[in-house]
């Protein structure tokens, strides 16, 4: 299968990107300055991320659609205001996670942002669950550009006036040079920022304008270190069909209202796990010293019994040390529990810690 290219491919090439294949797309892993510098630039200034490989699924419908989607997602969608977004999951009957996603209420329905590697399967599942009742469009004519970091608001508002008035996890339509652009205040780096959905033809020119204002392109490598420092899950690592949202320690994303009433896919298991606990749970892990414990590293307790496995681990440039997440048996999941990580045959001390590793600075209540 040929790998796909996003509408920013030429810009990535012009910017000396190193490419990797990711979910069937040729994507930039890093540019000439490297992952650590790109990471720091995002934390201190403003980074641009091409996330056009992600799915932008529009589902059109009215009250029926709200009811039907509430049978799928553990969200209070009836009370989700126009242009407001929620983080959620598409689950199996066993509450295993098919994908994690952002769902936004738009004028005639909902917009769902899906992971690139999952989007085709998600589409099939949703189409089946909704019995073909609604118009569903996976919009391949649109690009998605994220701009993240403390200077992003100044930079983006100098190009699109009014974006500064958006609150975290809300969005709106804007017009730029006769192009309709949907902007949400959101992202996946732990920084204030925006995600901009616009036509493929306009994406390159728009992104070059952000670069002219001082933002820089950032690759998938730094996106991974940024999200890991922010304690955010990555599908295929922390999240999979074998993990439930409760095990993934994401119960905050399940509406309390819906837990009381149930009646969504996987609700029996979710409610049971919330009441009775889970055997394994996602935690933050801080290795001592500089040792990096990567995915699949085995975790041991102080009695040398295997208690879990790392799902993501790297060096956190802003933390200036190694950071990791993984699943451990519930009884060892308390903060400050001493654990050991087996790296290249040696066991290295580490500690269970709270998340995030790096404190977020999301903007709430600007208006």
């Amino acid at each position: 299968m040929d790998t796909k290219k996003t509408s920013l491919y030429q810009l990535h090439q012009d910017s000396k990107a190193k490419f990797v294949e990711f979910a069937g797309y040729q994507m930039p892993i890093q540019y000439s300055e490297g992952i650590v510098e790109e990471h720091r630039f995002t934390r201190n200034h403003s980074g641009i991320f091409d996330v056009s490989h992600m799915g932008q699924l529009f589902i059109y419908g009215r009250e029926d659609l709200v009811d039907d989607l509430e049978r799928i997602f553990p969200l209070d969608l009836k009370n989700l205001k126009l242009n407001h977004s929620k983080y959620s999951f598409l689950m199996s009957d066993n509450a295993g996670i098919y994908d994690d996603l952002i769902i936004t209420k738009i004028k005639d329905g909902f917009l769902i942002i899906l992971n690139a590697a999952c989007k085709e399967n998600d589409y099939k599942i949703l189409k089946g669950l909704l019995n073909n009742k609604y118009k569903m469009i996976m919009d391949e004519d649109k690009s998605l550009i994220a701009i993240q970091g403390p200077k992003s608001v100044q930079i983006l508002k100098s190009v699109i006036q009014g974006v500064e008035n958006l609150n975290f996890m809300s969005g709106n339509w804007f017009t730029l040079d006769d192009h309709n652009i949907y902007v949400t205040r959101s992202g996946y780096t732990g920084e204030d920022g925006f995600e901009v959905s616009l036509t493929n033809e306009f994406a390159d020119g728009f992104t070059r304008r952000l670069i002219d204002k001082g933002a820089k392109l950032i690759g998938l490598g730094a996106r991974d270190t940024l999200r890991l420092e922010a304690g955010l899950c990555l599908y295929g690592h922390e999240l999979s069909k074998d993990k439930t949202p409760v095990e993934a320690n994401l119960k905050w994303a399940i509406s309390k209202e819906r837990i009381l009433k149930g009646n969504f896919i996987g609700s029996d298991i979710i409610i049971n796990q919330l009441n009775n606990g889970v055997s394994k749970i996602r935690v933050g892990i801080k290795p001592e010293g500089r040792i990096i414990a990567r995915e699949k590293t085995k975790i041991y307790n102080e009695s040398d019994l295997e208690i879990g496995e790392i799902t993501s681990g790297t060096f956190g440039p802003s933390v200036n040390g190694p950071v990791a997440m993984g699943y451990v048996e519930n009884e060892f999941s308390k903060k400050n529990t001493k654990i050991f990580l087996e790296v290249r045959g040696k066991k290295h001390p580490a500690t269970i810690c709270g998340l995030p590793f790096y404190k977020k600075s999301y903007v709430k209540g600007v208006n």
């Binding site: 992952i35 490598g221 990096i292 990567r294």
Partner: protein, 126 residues
């Protein structure tokens, strides 16, 4: 003569008397990206030609470091363990990895000179 030689695993080696200084090449650091962790062999240990003699990790992945010749580890560069980013800054000079007291100088003959290595690096990266 202090000619610097190179291995196919992208190490450089500089021989002075029977003491060899070993590090990784600029080309290797460019392949690895930002180096954030380094592990060196134990001082006093004997390591064999082409055996593992440490680890470097970038933000992306871990890679073994091999020794291009056999010998006893007589000195380590602690500064690259304390600050691995030094390897990206000055890989073929101050950011050397370890020094060996070598046993068999003829092992040097199996390695590449600068021109050969540059050609090898160029070919292997395309």
């Amino acid at each position: 003569m202090n000619e610097v030689k190179y291995s196919k695993e992208h190490e450089w080696i500089k021989l002075e008397g029977d003491i060899a200084t070993i590090g990784i090449t600029r080309h290797a650091t460019e392949l690895l990206g930002d180096i954030v962790f380094t592990e060196l062999p134990d001082k006093g240990s004997n390591i064999e030609k082409d055996g593992t003699a440490g680890v470097v990790e970038s933000t992306k992945a871990a890679s073994d470091v091999y020794t291009p010749v056999s010998g006893e580890v007589v000195d380590l560069n602690q500064s690259i363990v304390d600050d691995p980013s030094k390897i990206n800054q000055d890989p073929e000079n101050s950011a050397w990895f370890f020094k060996l007291k070598i046993k068999d100088k003829s092992e040097m003959d199996t390695l590449m000179n600068k021109d050969e290595y540059d050609k090898f690096a160029k070919e292997s990266s395309t």
